[in-house]
Symmetry: C2
Subunit: 336 residues, 2 copies
DNA sequence: TTGCGAAATGACAACGTTGTCATTTCGTTA
DNA sequence: TAACGAAATGACAACGTTGTCATTTCGCAA
């Protein structure tokens, strides 16, 4: 019979009901083997009967830890889902839950501010997901008792960081072009303030310069297809343009559409590579070769780094998760 | 000068440093007006000096609440980002943080299981994001001390639910066709097990039936463009097909591409409507009319419902967030 | 049966807050 | 100056756990 439940059932209530001491109930939960089976059964029965559930606050207070990792989303965009997925799965696997807060649109949150808010919450360590520059990035110091990992392509003086290797991915795409006989690569960027866009551009530039090629003026986009289309119209008129690297798949698609509308063929006249490998979801028979980042893996690494840091708080590391070039047929081999 | 910090700074340490009692420090934090300004300043200085930060566990233990809302993601897909965004912003606004756990891929999690896990965590109430059927949906009873809101299109016997009005959105799209002289509407579905797809199909069907139209056999898709393309090839051969409702924009785009490849024009020969209004991101000059759901709003409502339920725990409500038809030019008015 | 070591259990303090109620201090008026 | 009520502060218990250490019970050999 379900009991008339008063407010909250404590261990003490269970102990009384089972005719044992408080401590024995505690043991049944935390070190069941140290309790005689008959006693254990009695306690379990009482817990069931009363609907006992351990009190998180009391437990954490005593233990001095929470079993939660804080996640601060400075930026919550499409790719973030996979990352959260990775963080959450890794957390689960290691017995942690997540505590999450978010920068609100418009609000300007510093790292210090984020750390301050987090340190009032039940967390043993924290992850900052930071995709844009923030004022106090270089001066920020994490609380010594709260291992902090920042997901960002920038290097931080004191905190561990984790990032996908966007620069490397862009370089890889460029080299893919160059190795196939292309003499130059044009670039369509994302929004100016985006660190992803900046890194991809940097990788593109460095790959060209490494071969002694002067990078052409990059075309400014905004991540959406229309800006890619506009860029494509411009590029279609450049006779030396045989290869275009767009900072994401949507813009790459815009570029391809513009080229087609100008009577040019991809890849016969112009080759194109994008980023994020998501065009196939939207475009049937997609031919776009694309650099894909493993956001899930990124999340997993970030969480593991925090958990590792719980034991060696002063450690500091920098993790880069490499991208993968998903080959389709949007790049022509000019050497053939 | 920054202090050599020992383990953790407690209120007592601050009290000693400031030469006041423990309780006064507590008051400075919780009811500053009841403390003389000079005292307050001294305490603040001591807090600063020692780097004091209130202990969450102790505070929660005493107060009997956490200031956190639990979020269980049974499903973490693209649209979820906006929803989380809404939940997080609303939480922030009302002074709550979020505690999140996630069903792992492959794992089969019941509502009871989710509730059990959540009740071990620091949460005052919880939100289940449930986009597929789950075994114990009808029999589940939420813990009485943990207000539970389920985000799902299904009605629940005891818990409050929040959902976008997917059925209504589909009906709206159908009527949009019918009101413009179309005699019938074909439907391309998403994955079979998806509740969204089921609801959208139900709305489509009911709208047709309400006008005495026998719904044609729906075409089975899988959310991606290729399945839409396949459906489009089939539809292109049906002479009576003047209107297609696709369960998302990606498939709608696939349909449109197939129609084009078959020499048909959208909207001149066939009209198309999609869902989610995201094609414009990927397709330049997109003309697709689409039903958009306000996921952010959905999240906000869900969170507000939980918080409201914290005071009236037994309340139960059902909230539907209506969709919006974003009009472009993919639908032809046959009456014209 | 006695004795003994190991296993099982219990009593009590402590974690760091906030609520209750008592005490001190202050400003004001008689 | 004394007396008073209000404002400011303090002492102490309590929230529900777990750690420490003491005590009881058990199984087994002498």
């Amino acid at each position: 019979m379900a009991t008339m439940d008063k407010k909250n059932v404590s261990m003490n209530d269970v102990a009384v009901a089972a005719g044992v001491s408080l401590k024995t109930v505690s043991r049944v939960i935390n070190e069941p083997d140290s309790v005689r089976e008959s006693t254990r059964d009695r306690v379990h029965a009482a817990m069931e009967e009363l609907g006992f559930r351990a009190n998180f606050a009391a437990r954490s207070l005593k233990l001095g830890r929470y079993g939660c990792i804080g996640v601060v989303m400075f930026h919550l965009s499409g790719g973030a889902v996979d990352m959260i997925d990775g963080i959450a799965d890794a957390a689960e696997e290691r017995g942690f839950a997540l505590t999450m807060i978010k920068k609100r649109a418009g609000e300007k949150m510093t790292l210090a501010e984020a750390a301050r808010r987090m340190s009032q919450l039940p967390v043993d360590g924290m992850i900052f997901n930071l995709r844009q520059m923030v004022d106090d990035f270089d001066t920020f110091e994490a609380p010594k008792d709260l291992k902090t990992v920042i997901i960002t392509p920038m290097e931080h003086p004191t905190c561990s960081t984790v990032s996908d290797d966007q620069e490397g991915g862009a370089r890889m795409a460029c080299e893919y072009f160059l190795n196939r006989g292309h003499k130059n690569v044009y670039f369509v960027s994302g929004k100016k303030e985006s660190l992803s866009s900046q890194c991809r551009m940097k990788g593109w530039r460095s790959a060209l310069e490494a071969r002694g090629i002067e990078p052409p003026e990059p075309l400014q986009g905004d991540w959406n297809a229309d800006s890619g289309y506009a860029a494509g119209l411009v590029l279609a008129d450049k006779p030396d343009c045989t290869a275009v690297l767009a900072a994401n798949d949507c813009m790459a698609n815009g570029v391809m559409m513009a080229l087609r509308d100008k009577g040019l063929s991809v890849p016969d006249d112009v080759s194109v590579i994008g980023f994020d490998d998501e065009l196939y979801k939207t475009m049937p028979n997609s031919i776009l070769t694309s650099v894909k980042f493993r956001h899930r893996e990124l999340g997993i690494r970030a969480l593991n780094e925090v958990v590792a840091g719980l034991e060696a708080p002063s450690s500091r590391s920098r993790t880069l998760v490499s991208g993968v070039l998903v080959e389709r047929s949007s790049v022509k081999d000019l050497r053939a």
